[in-house]
């Protein structure tokens, strides 16, 4: 970490002034609501009689007991989709950063082009792509490659593929930024020291780009495992995820305490997972992000 040495007293105040507006915004609209939600999750009651604060932990136990399998499925889908995103995003970002030449930003832009189309529209059109007689499965079925009973829609595969497609940019951007920052002279130095292409990649480029991958994993895994739109549009009733449950509890059943408890459980599970993952990975960037 380079440290700018301010020469005047005014420089001491600079970081505070720079951070203040965002800080206030985050405090008012992120931290306070969180606290209120936790408080809500410990209440009992219903819409008609109103809710009372009873510090009722039962909401959590009931929630985990009833929907445990949904939690597990959400995390599993999240893992699969995140892995698929890395497999697709890393080579693409690598190619743009190192082979893009003068048109780097153009290529990046082209890659992100589909994502200017609305997320919902994308998901619905993905459904059209995956339908039994759609552009992908139709020809395969007619040519007899696929058995008649073969479906993708309303399966876990459909949900994971939709998630992968939808959240790809969250993986591409951070990896690209990290790769782009790598000083090419360092890579050349590796070659000068008789590193093969594989060695140069494994010993120089990959370690330097890991912070980007790490950020990408968080940016992808979290929204993916808590998403409910893909599961609803592509998965059918057999493949619902925890997000679907939370949404239903809030809007259809108005069971605010239960829904809050489930939301908080989801966040806690994901946060614990991320911290464990950060610990194992142990890159400097991670520890910094975790505020240690």
């Amino acid at each position: 970490m380079a440290r700018g040495e301010p020469r005047r007293g005014r420089g001491r105040l600079a970081p505070y002034l720079m951070i203040l507006p965002s800080g206030l915004w985050m405090a008012a609209f992120f931290l306070v609501p969180m606290v209120l939600m936790v408080s809500l999750s410990l209440q009992t009651g219903n819409l008609i009689d109103g809710f009372r604060q009873t510090l009722h932990w039962q909401n959590y136990l009931d929630g985990l007991d009833t929907y445990g399998d949904k939690f597990v499925r959400s995390l599993w889908y999240g893992f699969l989709a995140t892995a698929a995103c890395i497999a697709l995003a890393y080579p693409a970002a690598y190619w743009i950063a190192f082979r893009g030449g003068r048109h780097k930003s153009t290529y990046l832009f082209l890659l992100l082009l589909p994502y200017f189309v609305s997320f919902i529209l994308r998901t619905v059109s993905w459904k059209l792509v995956l339908t039994d007689n759609g552009p992908v499965l139709g020809p395969l079925r007619h040519s007899g490659i696929l058995p008649d009973g073969f479906h993708i829609l309303d399966t876990g595969v459909a949900v994971v593929s939709g998630l992968t497609y939808n959240f790809l940019p969250f993986m591409v951007l951070p990896i690209y930024v990290a790769l782009e920052r790598i000083d090419h002279r360092v890579v050349e130095a590796a070659y000068d020291l008789y590193a093969s292409r594989v060695q140069a990649f494994a010993k120089v480029i990959l370690p330097l780009s890991l912070p980007g991958v790490f950020a990408g994993v968080i940016m992808t895994f979290v929204p993916v495992s808590s998403d409910y739109v893909n599961a609803e549009v592509l998965g059918g009733p057999q493949n619902t995820m925890i997000g679907n449950v939370i949404q239903t509890e809030y809007f259809n059943n108005s069971a605010y305490p239960t829904a809050s408890a489930l939301s908080f459980s989801l966040m806690a599970i994901l946060l614990v997972g991320i911290f464990a993952y950060a610990r194992t990975l142990g890159t400097q960037d991670v520890l910094e992000a975790a505020g240690r």
């Binding site: 380079a2 440290r3 700018g4 020469r7 600079a14 970081p15 951070i19 965002s22 915004w25 985050m26 992120f30 931290l31 306070v32 609501p33 969180m34 209120l36 939600m37 832009f109 890659l111 082009l113 589909p114 994502y115 200017f116 609305s118 997320f119 919902i120 529209l121 619905v124 059109s125 993905w126 059209l128 792509v129 940019p169 951007l173 951070p174 690209y176 930024v177 782009e180 920052r181 979290v222 495992s225 808590s226 998403d227 409910y228 739109v229 549009v233 997000g243 939370i246 949404q247 809030y250 605010y256 809050s260 939301s263 966040m267 994901l270 946060l271 991320i274 992000a289 505020g291 240690r292």
Partner: protein
Amino acid sequence: MILFGFNDTRGKQNFEWQGFTLKWYRHLFDKSDLTTAVVNSLTIALLSTLITTVLGTFAGLALGRYRFRGKGSTNLVLFMAISCPEIVMGASLLSMFVTFNLPRGYLTILVAHVMFSIAFVAVTVRARVVGLDPAVEEAAQDLGAGPWTRFRLVTLPMIMPGVLAGALLAFVLSIDDFVITNFTSGATVTFPLWIYGSTRTGTPPQVNVMGTLIFAVGILIAVVSARRNIRAAR
């Protein structure tokens, strides 16, 4: 993969290709509620991107450049905001608005969008700042540049790729957001909400046209801002 995305978006419009027509463009504004939704989406996305990019860039700069009291906790909050599932944010904001009896609508959506985009922009910018050499700015200072000049002519061009990526991300996040908007919208409808509501009854062709136009506008904004930045960097 690029082609793939194209296929998909084009496929949506050609799925049942009945011949080329501009009819739907003529009837584009027939559904006034859809038009309102699109206008809401666009203005919210633009405002949110603007506010977020400014706030997030300064936060990212501060975090990447200085050491100060509370840096750890600031990082932790940003980290949490990024690690926090959308549905949880939406739920918590809803809890707050319900608790304080705040009417939900346009402003609450905007506030929510800025809130969840700040962390992404700040982290993207910070990643860029950490890789910079502070000596360059000190040189500018030695050459008599004031803080504003220093920022405009030295710092900003250097961190521009990060700022741009952040702004792009903020825009895409906002225009696309369905989950948090769903929780904070009240009676105000944005484009994604409208589409979601229409999938049950059948999506009218105007949606595809609007989708195409938003797509085009989004690209236009990105291209124009990229050009401006390239020029500024020179």
